[in-house]
Amino acid sequence: MHLHQASLAPQSSAVRTALATAGLLMALSACSHFAGSAPSPDITTLKVSAHRLYRASVRPAVVPIPVRRLQSWTLHIDAADGRPVDDATITMNGGMPQHGHGLPTSPRVTRSLGSGDHLVEGVKFNMGGWWVVRFAIASAAGTDTVTFNLSL
């Protein structure tokens, strides 16, 4: 094959609009990130931990959650009595149950932001579909796990 010089043809405004629309549609289906037709029955952003020691919520820095891009999240944790939890050891893992693989990165909670908020860095999803992310939380209130489902 012979390859010649070429440049990206200028986009027509119609194509740009259509791509933007398509992007919004992707965003919406990905927005189902927490509210769409994920296979899991519970896809809310606010979850109670397995042994009811914590209530936790996640807030991605970029919504809709992008694919193939490193991103940060904020994880908010309250104890069962409603007080925010700042002093905790938190680890994160996850993956795609239907594909049998884990996350493409090793995200970590890198620091407490105060008022129960914790910064999660290094989050990435490399494909669309059903993802599960789990946080293991250990604090004076005890050790427990909270699980979120996403549909990208």
């Binding site: 919004l24 549609l25 490399n126």
Partner: protein
């Protein structure tokens, strides 16, 4: 939950309702524009369009990445056979410009035969990981690997510094500043497999070794400044998608045959190719064990990403190294890289599919001769020779396999790069 969080949730919900209302009207618009694809399919097709490829920004680890003088120097270095142990091998020996920057061979031939298939270059500046096993985290780190490989360029670090000083001093110094004093340095020395050259390298004082290594890193940065200007071009598939998105009538320039269209439908649908081959470069930039067969010739065991990930993190020229132009804490991909786990075993990088029809044979050691073989492999999904394949069979009929191949062929397009970067430069001095 405290009141601040509650109120922010309310705002989010309100925003969500507004967005849904807005999008509902737009869904209607898009549906109206295409009789062939649903709104969800159109959204997926739009995400594959080359028009959604984000323009390259800076490379913080390479402050010269967007310097056109560095790119021209890099272009000249890319084609210079003096950067090899036998004076016959340049980057362009295996990355053949007229063949989509690859050589069409199962295993690359430098000064010796390698254990891997040559990878293409177009668009790789967008990738966080280079090489089949991702053992480099930038184009400039990647470029430095083959130069010191005993079977690829087969040269040494001081040799390359001497070549730059003798052949490219003005061009180099205009970009990177003064070269160090090379007087008294051996012609051949470097941290390479050749034990004589390695011993000679160790005899050089550490400070001078660092100076030479910095010149070496700058060779990589110049080559990267060149390579990042090689981008994939607009294919007929992109033009087809653009037309479908706006409901335009198809012309010979933007149409797909019925076989190609059926292939595209399979690609984003039942065949599930788009799971990994996603986005405008048709790659998820990640690593997968897809159970590809063992190479046809006997090669050392190859564990793919299981080794490549650790090499990237330990890399002498990675983003976090002293030769990088960014602080280690800003090397996000390295900081959060997965380096352990069974799924890394024999996992290899998802290659871009742009121009894939021009790049037989396929897989990391050229195990599969044709696109038909590749599609048949993914249809059958055999067990991995070792490690665990992520695939499950999709069982495509012979006709469906033919349709997928037809679609992949429609991804062929001329590269997008300045003409001067796609030609062998005039002999340098």
């Amino acid at each position: 939950m405290n009141s601040i969080t509650r109120s922010s949730r309310t705002v989010r919900i309100a925003f969500g309702v507004g967005a849904i209302a807005l999008a509902s009207s737009m869904i209607g618009t898009v549906r109206h524009q295409s009789a062939k694809w649903t709104s969800a399919e159109l959204a997926l097709l739009g995400s594959l369009s080359i028009r959604t490829l984000e323009p390259l920004g800076d490379d913080p680890s390479n402050r010269y990445a967007n310097d056109s003088r560095a790119a021209l120097l890099g272009r000249d270095l890319f084609f210079d056979t003096r950067l090899s142990g036998n004076g016959k091998v340049s980057c362009a020996t295996c990355h053949v410009v007229a063949q989509d920057f690859q050589d069409g061979k199962p295993l690359a031939d430098g000064v010796g035969r390698t254990a891997r298939r040559t990878m293409p270059i177009a668009g790789t500046a967008h990738s966080p990981w280079l090489f089949w096993d991702g053992r480099a985290d930038s184009q400039w780190a990647q470029a430095l690997g083959p130069l010191e490989s005993g079977v690829e360029h087969g040269g040494s670090r001081t040799q390359y510094a001497h070549v730059v000083a003798e052949q490219y001093r003005p061009e180099y110094e205009a970009v990177f500043g003064a070269l160090p004093n090379l007087i008294g340095l051996p012609r051949e020395a470097g941290p390479v497999s050749d034990t004589t050259w390695r011993a000679a390298w160790q005899r050089i004082p550490a400070g001078r070794r660092d100076e030479i290594s910095r010149v070496y890193a700058n060779i990589g940065k110049a080559i990267a400044a060149y390579e990042r200007r090689i981008e994939p071009g607009v294919s007929r598939v992109d033009r087809y998608v653009d037309a479908e998105l706006v409901g335009e009538r198809h012309t010979s320039e933007n149409t797909l045959t019925s076989d190609e269209e059926a292939g595209l439908r399979l690609f984003i649908g039942r065949a599930r190719c788009v799971t990994c081959h996603n986005g405008p470069l048709f790659t998820d930039d990640h690593f997968h064990n897809t159970g590809v067969p063992l190479p046809r010739v006997s090669l050392p065991p190859d564990s793919g990403r299981a080794v490549g990930g650790r090499k990237a993190v330990a890399g002498e020229f990675n983003c976090a190294s002293r030769y990088s132009d960014v602080k280690p804490e800003d090397c996000q991909e390295l900081r959060f890289a997965v380096t352990e786990g069974p799924e890394l075993v024999r996992a290899y990088k998802t290659p871009s599919l742009r121009n894939v029809a021009a790049r037989a044979p396929y897989m990391h050691a050229g195990q599969l001769a044709s696109l038909a073989d590749v599609v048949a492999h993914y249809s059958a999904a055999p067990a991995a020779p070792f490690g665990h394949s992520e695939l499950t069979p999709v069982r495509l009929s012979p006709n469906e396999q033919r349709h997928l191949v037809a679609f992949l062929q429609a991804l062929t397009a001329p590269l997008a790069a300045p003409a001067a970067y796609l030609e062998h430069p005039a002999p340098h001095r």
